[in-house]
Amino acid sequence: MSKIDAGAGSQAGAQAAAGAGAAGSQKGARATSRTSAKVIDRIATGVFYVVAAFFILLLASITAYILYKGALAASPELLSFVGDGVGIQLFNTVYLVFLSLLVTMPVGIMTGLFMAEYAGSGFFVAITRTCIEALSSLPSIIVGLFGFLVFIQMTHSKWSLWAGSLSLAIINVPLIARTTEDAMRSVPRSYYDGSIALGASRWQTVTHVLLKASIPRIITGMILAAGRGFGEAAVLLYTSGMSSDVNFHDWNPLSPTSPLNPLRSADTLSVRIWSLKTEGIAANSQQIADLAAAILILLVFVFSLGSRALGRRLQKRMLSGN
């Protein structure tokens, strides 16, 4: 690998040298080309700074706009857990993602273990890898339709939290599988040898040592998956539905309007934004959507930043004890 790289490098170097040689064929020409090369370099650098500034300004102003509109729309009534309050959708979002992680994590981790330690390099692993790759880049509407077909139509059931969370799990399994595989592969080989030499079986080594060493990265992956889940809408439209009938005084998971009942339909923040923007008829639908967007984006930011911070901390703790 490195040999090939070196070859490519010297080739590229040779080309650059050829360019320099041509430029240096006449003394005067060389001087001019030197200055013009320098000018071009300056201009290019300037252009990059301008483009970057534009880009960052754009992203920053979008964020600021969303948060500003959200703050304007915020009122005790809209922040509540009854009526039009987006508290309901906030709860639904978090709960649905939580339920989906209950499925995503074991399936993703097991698949990752399989890929990293047991699959070898045969035909079957090539198939598995291709499937995971395909799964991870499917449009989410496609996964949503599959969920609709299998979990709703074929079981003759209504839109529900569990159908939504299972569909969402399909989207996140490849992410967790890949994170686990990468983490396992980056564990030093010496851990493996050390454990085997103590008379551990391969499975014991994988679960007790390699997996343990991979935990910080897997947790980071999990938070990333959660952050992605919060924003998913296309996968949920036809699986968990676009409405919720829920009573926040009833916490018996078996009761049909209990927030905890996984068989009730539930709209999340992102689905709510979609439905308000496309078929919203309420007078304050604009405000509700503004607020929902602001909360959603905050949620995503917090989780994105949190995953990095936590990942770093866990890594540190593992190295230092305590």
Binding site: P188, Y191, D193, G194, L198, A200, V209, A213, L319
Partner: protein, 253 residues
């Protein structure tokens, strides 16, 4: 030296695919002694260690021929479970390799694997093993700290303690001091010397002085062949084979 034999190999051949790494090696390792294996890189001495605890099983296209008897039992017999074998034959690697967990959990790892669950017994094993590896005094107040917070030399002694915790009959050491500074190396050597009271030790080393300092017996490997196997003193003062003499006088390697 009239002693019991711990490990006996006869006509041992080892192949990695087409490459023959060991050529008809026959030797008897005496019990409760230190045996040093020396020789230039790639001479087969490390491969020989791997044969003794069947780490060779983990290598693709690796084939072992011949006989290896551990306490008169053929370790390559079909009925032998390599996992149980590795419990009896401990190994310490070139680079210290503590697991990313606490000092306590590192030592308790092996005993737990083999069914030891009681807190009290585990506490006892941990203390005994750390003490045997001359690490107890330094670590008794920080057993819950990550093993990775220890210094390189301490980590290597921890690796030794971890191997001792499963009470092996035979301890294999693959250049255990090659990654350490001279002071840590000295401590490990002292420790190894102490350990021979209760354990049989085979140590692969690059360092001939080390072999002289600590070992009772020395084997010299060259190109997969065991050239000479003798009492350490004899080997270094009056080598029988010309190649051994060339090697220990620094003419090659």
């Amino acid at each position: 030296m009239e002693t019991e034999t711990c490990v006996q190999t006869s006509a041992l051949n080892l192949y990695y695919s087409d490459f023959q790494a060991l050529r008809s090696v026959s030797l008897a390792i005496p019990r409760k002694h230190i045996t040093a294996l020396i020789g230039p890189s790639g001479c087969g001495k490390s491969s020989f260690l791997k044969v003794l605890n069947r780490m060779t099983d983990l290598i693709d296209h690796c084939r072992v021929e011949g006989q290896v008897l551990l306490a008169d039992e053929d370790i390559y017999a079909a009925a032998v479970d390599p996992i149980m074998l590795r419990k009896r034959v401990g190994m310490v690697f070139q680079k210290p390799n503590p697991f990313p967990m606490s000092i306590y959990d590192n030592i308790a790892y092996g005993p737990r694997l083999h069914g030891q669950k009681g807190k009290h017994q585990l506490d006892e094993i941990v203390e005994k093993s750390l003490a045997a590896a001359a690490l107890w005094e330094e670590t008794k107040d920080r057993l819950k700290k990550s093993a990775l917070s220890l210094s390189g030399g301490q980590q290597q002694r921890l690796s030794i303690a971890r191997a001792l915790a499963v009470e092996p009959e035979l301890l294999l050491m693959d250049e255990p001091t090659s990654a350490l500074d001279p002071i840590s190396t000295g401590k490990i050597e002292e420790l190894v010397f102490e350990l021979k009271r209760s354990y049989t030790i085979i140590i692969v080393t690059h360092n001939m002085q080390q072999a002289v300092r600590i070992s009772d017996m020395t084997g010299f490997f060259l190109l997969g062949e065991l050239v000479e196997f003798a009492n350490t003193n004899n080997m270094f003062t009056a080598p029988q084979d010309k190649r051994t003499e060339d090697y220990i006088t620094g003419r090659f390697g």
